[in-house]
Symmetry: C2
Subunit: 155 residues, 2 copies
DNA sequence: CCTTGATTTAGAGTAAGCTCCAATGTACAT
DNA sequence: ATGTACATTGGAGCTTACTCTAAATCAAGG
């Protein structure tokens, strides 16, 4: 099965601009062209796009994705480099998840604070309560992320 | 306690350029200046920066952070809007965490695949094995995210 | 007073990742 | 064969979030 650039755009949710841009950046070195110069994508190209989306989702910039593709083109001699690359990606993603979980905790604190504030009709009144102060201490007693955060003013 | 822009940069890890940029963009509307026009930051400003970093970490763009700050300036009349804003942030972050967990699964699959490939000295040999095909099915049987992904070619 | 280093401003420059345009060519149904 | 939709290229333009520059001013020590 083969696809035009428009069909691939449809299938992947990427724009035709983006597909051409990726090619220009060396992310899709295997896309064929027919006699008239039109791009003809096959299943492998779609798989590559899926891989690219995956790497992008790990936070990898386009230049580094190209490097992966260049490693792939080197063949089996680059297997251990590719393994190493995926291990680094795993680390990056794991760290990002951890960071987001901490952020989620802070946002949930804000939600509780604002729920009480809406109830009371005032933020100042609520942010000094025993309950909120205690929550604040639990969350921000950890000095790792902006220790001065979330002071008395409840910004 | 008060701080110069350089001290705040040191404290927060942001550059002095960034601090001035944030002010220009309306993210720090409370920073004072002394008689000579030099910025003088206080604890509240540091707290605001911490809040800004938190919102940024949720993926919120700077223009929307400014909108939050404008809501804050409106006082208690905007409490429920601010609550709503934090609820949306929570959704965004929760979804991002979910997405990253799926990505983590894919990356871990790649790691296993490449571990085997390095062992065998060949990617093609390994990607057709019973074990890998089974793992692939488990991970990518779900048609939500690029159903064509990870075909026979193991890109 | 003088020097050194930090700070001020307006505005220009940068990097990433697209996004679009103009002019031209291709595919195909009527 | 002609209209319509879709494709090609090079290159310009856009957005976000900084990042830096230049020229002037300020702060503090000797």
């Amino acid at each position: 099965m083969s696809y035009s650039i428009g069909q691939v755009a449809e299938k992947t949710g990427l724009s035709t601009y983006t597909l051409r841009y990726y090619e220009k950046e060396g992310l899709l070195p295997f896309v064929q062209k027919n006699a008239s110069g039109l791009r003809v994508y096959n299943e492998d190209d779609i798989n590559w796009l899926s891989m690219i989306e995956c790497l992008k989702a790990t936070g990898m910039p386009i230049k580094e994705i190209r490097q992966y593709i260049e490693l792939y083109k080197e063949g089996d001699s680059s297997l251990s480099k590719r393994l190493e690359l995926f291990r680094k990606r795993k680390e990056t993603v794991a760290q990002e998840i951890e960071k987001l979980q901490k952020i989620l905790g802070k946002v949930e604190f804000k939600i509780r604070l604002y729920e009480k504030a809406v109830e009371a009709g005032s933020l100042e009144a609520v942010s000094q309560t025993e309950e909120i102060q205690q929550l604040r201490d639990e969350l921000f007693g950890d000095p790792n992320y902006f220790p001065e955060a979330e002071g008395k003013k409840s910004v």
